[in-house]
Assembly symmetry: T
Homo-oligomer: 79 residues x 12
């Protein structure tokens, strides 16, 4: 049973940004997430938008669900 | 690159309530969120419901995505 | 007003797993959540998937929104 | 078992209208529903529209699911 | 206020069928609805399906929301 | 033509509940519906939620569309 | 590059109406659109509704996205 | 036939804003639209968001589809 | 158990076309499907679009899910 | 490059049935699929319905996307 | 009030194309839009498709909502 | 009529993968599909996800609907 409960995942929602494109916006968010969350398993793209800046695309913005395994109770409440 | 990573946002999901209406339910949730999150940028309404109480509308309930900029790694894990 | 703000809820997104079926996957996630979150009110099923393992269903996986009342500001930022 | 079956709810779909705004349109529909249905528990907003009248907003129109507990079989067939 | 409450509408969900096509399936359902509901205002198509019968299309099936004005409380509970 | 009109179906929306799981919640709602509606053909699951009760899952709640054939005009207005 | 930019399309949203049925409602909207837009490529059905008139279907109403190639900048701003 | 073609509607998409709430944001957009479009019939709410400004809700933002009857061909291309 | 497994259905996705309208586009796809699949049970309309051809509607295009019973394993892999 | 192309997956859509419940309906479909497809990785639940039979639930019906790795070109065209 | 009405935005729907990929398709549409619309604020990706050409991807096609501030009434009717 | 039936299309659902980004994941799936399906016309992006691998994005995964013309009955059953 303990093992089964270890297969609980939490998903947080992030928006990554980049002036370069969709892939880099995703990579920037995942790099940021990886600094404090160690056991990320997957991401899901939920929305792609962008903000203009002086007539150019200033930022591609990608909303992501970021899923990671909950290893101990503190993971659940801190992330 | 550091700057780009600063343009990472996190979205948390809240439900605000009010007996007065939709706007106040939103305001109550945002006021609550603002007490502990300092750099909130936007909200998105995801669902509007309500609960009856003795034949009257007891609570308007508005589910919100609340987005804020992640300024340092602790922001990511604590909110 | 204080009372109204107490009717703010937060929803976190979890994925529960079980080799036994949908109900147990939900129960495993809720049991896990209940260890650190004391005032959970409801859950909403958002997705049902599964992973195969050697030709058998290894895991039923149920994505849940888990809602709980925010009692003090720390609840908001820690969960 | 009898008790469990008492936790059956029925949802009817109404559209409330008001020239004043979204909240009043909801209140008007719920007031109307409450005249004949005694045990309403909740509502869900499903659509918000409006009709113009001579260049002004004539009616805000809110489509609602209205949920109430089914207490005896006649409730099921009459509402 | 009484007038405003008269602008409450109820929507019931019907499926009309026809071997001839989508339009006739809609017409059959609306003709049926019109026999007992006098003040129908609009319909919304929610789903189009069909059933095969011996290698031919046996029935086009169109799920409709059918909206009508609630004129007196009995309308609300009887339809 | 009469025959075609007999292939009109009505769908009502119910929520079934059970502390045991999704299947039983569906069965409870369908058993309840079957007491007063004689010619039910199918159901469609529209939402799965649950309510907690003292840290346990108190109720699995399944929102269902319940479809049945309209045999005479009274069926249309009474269910 | 000039050629690529010529492969920009604009989509406008129309509602076509007809007392005869879905196909004619679509045809009426497209005929209307074709009077002023010369290079229409495709349409997408987004909603099918209808309005009753004295107990009969008065109008089938079909909401369409209508896509056409943008050939010069004026096309973009005028349609 | 000419008459039928007159029952063609166009829908444009606007976002209205207000610091006061959802209703006023809708009213502001409709007032703006009414200055140049004379025959508006209805609006549909498509999204509700908001922007924060110094810890307060700066703007409620409501995305609307605004529908109006196309009376002559110029209406189609100019709006 | 063998019998239950016989109640497995497969759904393939087709797009039927016709210059005549939605119904004929559906019929053309189902006629085509019926040439090689013997036990089709139902279809579900998933999208309705159309392609223009020299200012006229060249093709109504209807995307369909086509469901049929899987009678032996080869049905599963060949269709 | 060859390796990357090996990470192509195909998803087929099945409906599994069972008189016993949602889990068994899923298991029946996956058991059937596993007889002819050797490398299934995951499934996604897309719809849950049911058919009544003499006043009882005759069949729970679960529509599934079933994903498997495409190992050689024949896999792509045969499943 | 005048200021509030200036915070009205219009969204037009474009499809950008490119043989190179999703980002360039977006950039091509936004470059085209920027030639005639001066105050574009944001875009929202609504659909990603592609057209094959002789066995290769001929065009990535991205449907966008393009939002810009309405500064004077002519902006509303001309774009 | 024969010609019309030739305008039947089939859509299969694939997931393409790449460590490089969204565009390459699409290209890998389409290249794979093109090896055995000769007359592919278009693709539709249905989902974008990704899998992490040792703290890096291991695979961008793009779910696609891939549409191709059905030229003879064997195409229908083999793909």
């Amino acid at each position: 049973m303990a093992e089964r409960r270890d297969h609980t995942y939490k998903i947080i929602e992030l928006v990554g940004s980049s002036p370069d494109g969709v892939d880099t916006a995703i990579r920037n968010a995942m790099e940021r997430a990886g600094e404090t969350i160690k056991n990320i398993d997957w991401f899901e793209v939920r929305e792609i938008r962008g903000a203009m800046n002086e007539g150019e695309i200033g930022w591609f913005q990608v909303k992501l669900g970021v899923g990671f395994r909950v290893l101990d109770p503190a993971d659940l409440t801190d992330d």
